[in-house]
């Protein structure tokens, strides 16, 4: 452990170009995936909270089950989809950051949708009579709920970010862990562990944890959450 901390420290301040490349790609893949997943998941969660339809309960149950989707299975699924022998092979996306983003979007969208659905459902119970009385359209309701629930929805999104940035199984399969192309922090950690370089792997792991904490703090600071007197 102590060696891991020392290695992490030395690693960050070595200003090693390869390390920064890996960190930057980790951020690029994860943040793109989180943005796309939030753009899908948040409105979907709100829509499910506001609408009553025949299969609603089943859709929600499936969504909750998909939260626990094993990333390796998602990786295999996306691999088979994007493989040259698969239905979307023509795009040549396999072993590219794009493929990794697709896999992560599939992994975290259900998580974001399900968490936001729970948040929005509670808020909708509170707002229901008011918004109906104000003669709002369905889209206006969803907008109001998303906006007024934004603090809790930010937390749901950050949960997605946490899951995405630490994910390794799926992106290893669809990204291929190619040096200078698709190697990110998690796959580099898996690689170094495989080589028995535990201290170095631990160092990378600590960089990953630090990164996750910094992103969370930054977003909370900019978003002014967790302060008295606001939501």
């Amino acid at each position: 452990m102590a060696q891991g901390f020392l290695d992490a420290w030395a690693l960050v301040f070595s200003f090693d170009v390869d390390l920064y490349e890996i960190i930057f790609l980790s951020l690029r893949v994860t943040i793109s995936a989180v943005i796309i997943a939030a753009l899908i998941g948040l409105p979907l969660g709100a829509w499910l909270a506001v609408n009553r339809f025949y299969l609603r309960r089943y859709v929600i149950a499936v969504l909750n089950a998909l939260m626990g989707l094993p990333p390796v299975v998602v990786g295999l699924f996306v691999y088979m989809l994007l493989s040259r022998s698969g239905p979307l092979g023509g795009f040549g996306l396999l072993f590219s950051p794009g493929a990794m983003i697709i896999a992560q979007v599939i992994i975290i969208t259900p998580l974001i949708a399900s968490l936001s659905h729970q948040t929005i459902r509670d808020l909708w119970a509170e707002y229901h009579d008011l918004l109906i009385s104000m003669n709002t359209t369905r889209a206006q309701r969803i907008m109001a709920l998303l906006w007024d629930g934004r603090r809790a929805l930010l937390t749901a999104t950050l949960a997605g970010l946490g899951r995405a940035i630490g994910e390794v199984g799926a992106i290893m399969i669809v990204g291929g862990n190619i040096e200078h192309s698709t190697r990110v922090l998690t796959t580099a950690i898996a690689l170094e562990t495989g080589k028995g370089n535990f201290a170095f792997a631990m160092g990378l792991g600590l960089v990953l944890i630090a990164l996750a904490i910094i992103i969370n703090l930054m977003i909370h600071m900019i978003g002014k959450t967790e302060r008295a007197g606001t939501w």
């Binding site: 951020l27 690029r28 943040i31 793109s32 943005i35 493989s83 040259r84 022998s85 698969g86 092979g89 040549g92 396999l94 072993f95 950051p97 934004r150 291929g176 862990n177 190619i178 040096e179 200078h180 192309s181 690689l191 562990t193 495989g194 080589k195 028995g196 370089n197 535990f198 201290a199 977003i219 900019i222 978003g223």
Partner: protein
């Protein structure tokens, strides 16, 4: 809030740097772990202006990636599987490049007394007889196939509590063996580069039966028109050149030569 989104989007949209021509090659873990690729790839980039992107997987998965057309070429070491791959028309041809060797690793106390064995078969028989713990890759990789072939040669069907199939790559399997203080078959390069040896030691090596032939196979463009066959052929030319011969034969790890170039020109 708006500010965050703008910042995030900006960070995301930044495109990857433009590339020289690139080629995807599936290689085995043992090759990658040897560190030889770190020597060869920059030279290839220099001479051919070609970025070789390595997908590091087990031989089984490497062959599958070639079959599915997801890579342009493969560099593996499992003769029988390679022949089947070619017979099915997935590759154009097979070109032998070099060989390294497998070694038997085990606890330094050597409870099965294999260090003094005459042959690999004798060593494996000793392990089976004493039922000393043994960890197998168990992942259908080239190393795994080789190990199973050696057991078959020794007339033993390995099973029982002493025989553990890890179902992982070489590194993870070595980690497991280190943790259990068990015997294990490894390629020499992975072993020399391995950083978590613990009480393990190299106990037996040198039998020609343990030699490990690497072969280069370009994926068949008749099957997958998008594969970069011309680049693969350029790469093959380079890998069998005199320059490659020198680089491969002079590559050492801990003072030991790992690979022996044996391509025919």
């Amino acid at each position: 809030m708006k500010l965050i989104w703008k910042a995030l989007v900006a960070a995301t949209v930044m495109a990857t740097a433009s590339h020289a021509e690139s080629l995807k090659m599936a290689v085995t873990t043992s090759f990658y772990n040897s560190g030889l690729s770190d020597v060869l790839l920059p030279e290839i980039k220099n001479d051919l202006d070609l970025d070789v992107e390595l997908i590091v997987v087990g031989t089984g998965q490497a062959l599958y990636l070639g079959q599915a057309g997801d890579v342009d070429a493969i560099l593996v070491h499992a003769r029988a599987a390679e022949d089947a791959f070619l017979a099915a028309g997935y590759g154009t041809h097979r070109r032998e490049i070099m060989y390294n060797d497998f070694i038997l690793i085990g606890p330094s106390s050597d409870p099965a007394q294999i260090a003094g064995s005459q042959t690999t078969v004798e060593a494996l028989q000793s392990i089976a007889r004493t039922m000393a713990p043994f960890v197998s890759r168990g992942d259908d990789s080239g190393t795994n196939k080789k190990e199973l072939a050696l057991w078959a040669e020794a007339g033993i069907t390995p099973m029982g509590g002493w025989y553990r199939a890890a179902g992982s790559g070489m590194g993870a399997t070595l980690n497991t063996a280190s943790g259990m203080n068990a015997y294990v078959v490894s390629d020499r390069a992975s072993w020399l580069n391995f950083g978590n040896k613990g009480d393990l030691a190299l106990l037996y090596a040198g039998d020609p039966a343990l030699f490990n032939q690497y072969a280069f196979i370009p994926v068949n463009p008749a099957r997958w028109p998008h594969v970069k066959n011309d680049l693969a052929m350029q790469l093959e030319g380079w890998l069998t050149s005199e320059k490659a011969e020198t680089l491969i034969n002079s590559y050492t790890l801990g003072g030991e030569q790992l690979f022996t170039f044996n391509a025919t020109r």
